[in-house]
Symmetry: C2
Subunit: 353 residues, 2 copies
Amino acid sequence: MSDLPDFVLSCPVPLPPGDRVLLGHGSGGVLTHRLITDLLAPLFDDPELARLGDAAVLDLPGGDRLAFTTDAFVVQPSFFPGSNIGTLAVNGTVNDLAMMGAIPLALSAALILEEGLELAVLGTAVASMAEACDAAGVRLVTGDTKVVERGAADGLYITTSGIGLVPAGIDIGPDKARPGDVVIVTGPIGSHGVAVMSRRGGIDFESEVVSDTAPLTALAQAMLATNGVRTLRDATRGGVASVLNELAESSTVGIVADESAFPVLGPVRAACEMLGLDPLYVANEGVAVAIVSAETADAALAAARAVDTGTHATIVGDITEHDDGGPRVHLRSGLGTTRPLIMLAGDQLPRIC
Amino acid sequence: MSDLPDFVLSCPVPLPPGDRVLLGHGSGGVLTHRLITDLLAPLFDDPELARLGDAAVLDLPGGDRLAFTTDAFVVQPSFFPGSNIGTLAVNGTVNDLAMMGAIPLALSAALILEEGLELAVLGTAVASMAEACDAAGVRLVTGDTKVVERGAADGLYITTSGIGLVPAGIDIGPDKARPGDVVIVTGPIGSHGVAVMSRRGGIDFESEVVSDTAPLTALAQAMLATNGVRTLRDATRGGVASVLNELAESSTVGIVADESAFPVLGPVRAACEMLGLDPLYVANEGVAVAIVSAETADAALAAARAVDTGTHATIVGDITEHDDGGPRVHLRSGLGTTRPLIMLAGDQLPRIC
């Protein structure tokens, strides 16, 4: 971009000269958070955007509450054990709607294709989108296709946006957790990130780890029916650790979780040890963090476990008062000691979704 | 993609082995049309998708009619005379809604950033998005940011999706043109494509051509108020020629237009002659083709001309019966001869939006 005339640069937010985008800005961790809260969101003066939820919720004149969300998918490689970018793009957007309590209504898909991509690869990925739409009970109703030269993309990128209807009576949000509430993780963590990494590195684990990508609408609705859910968030980029930090920050509370309580499948645990990854920071594509009231926690857990995608749901911790300025999220070890669980600073796994 | 295991390839549409994506698949012409109608759309069984409108229109339970659209913007360079990718991304999606008769309600933005992009460039483009949202009277309410390695994108790509409300009583569509109807072009053609090309080639025209990017909601609503509009479509990729062919095809009619009637600004005409481009195929970002009933044509023209973005609106031709199998769109020259105006076969200007 060095040939850009100076006159076109008129960024209203003062920036150190020469500051550039880093891979970590896409990690879902601290850098992503700062890029959005310090540079991008302030350029718009919109309360719904500033809330930084998984989806915006808008009241329509006819009385419907509409959830609206978007996600770009750049996962590399595009095909990985258990799934591919097409399925991921559908489920990821369906889940952003589901986490607002919405029933998905329709999706759009915008494809950016690299010149030279095999049409059979494109057709396979898009066929997977169609299957995932069927499985999630949502229509894909509009789209766009752009092509860039060889070397100006990496195979294919898919941006899906989605709209969904939020049923009456649902009142959840990242700022609604209260001390005494209970934290539930709805499934075994780390599978998606490890599946992608295994294919990327050509690593051959003894038992293959497959992505957990799945639509979470049924799980979310089952838990919401217990009437004690404060907030739901799917633990994608940055993993469960980032979600816990974001929710604690939004609700100005603390969280104490039991390190040993988090469900992790054996092969994922083994792969993480081999690769030096902490599963708490590894991306999931079919796992949510739910914060629920203490009195409904057992009912919410039972409701989650009754749904296919929630059979491994587990209570992992509690919401606490937080009145000092330090880290908000802590892990309790088996020895009874606690240590802070901070947000990811760099980029553990770039292009994981 | 050659390292892709064979087992993952399961494209349900039979394809010649080794067929690959060409730049022309992104042209907005014949190849784009074929990619969508032969490969992508058949993978979904959705009537709204199959209609291939600028936006899908959905009936919501509360009684609202919602238009929903998406567009990926990959224009190269990202900054060009008169505008940049941020403004384009907002206006392009606003216009897809406007062409359905919708009033834009909210937009989403998904950014794909190349590692190393200057943050000031990003900030400037996103600030332009905010300005364009203000000008178009629409909110940006949700977004996503992904980062890919150097060489896996080209600066920044922006996918905007939008939702809008279609007022009661609006009944337009690409299949509604009837013999005897009149074709209006709402502004001088070719400015956007020439502006981008001039910056790309480092070409210095005597008088600078600037992009015509602009929101067309007011123009569309003014024309719709005359109650004779059959269909509206903004003439982006593939230019006016492609739009005329698409509309003639959808409505199973013919179109005869006067070559000399199309408004073209002097500097655009000069640049097209120099570059060997036909302005009828050059992309516009603030020009629509409207097909209106003969009895309301004068009123529609006057309504368009009363709006800033429509001061150069002109009647360019008529809808005719079309009963042979040949080309549907013809141009009448100054000498009274006619020749077919076919859809763009290759890719005149890649990455123009």
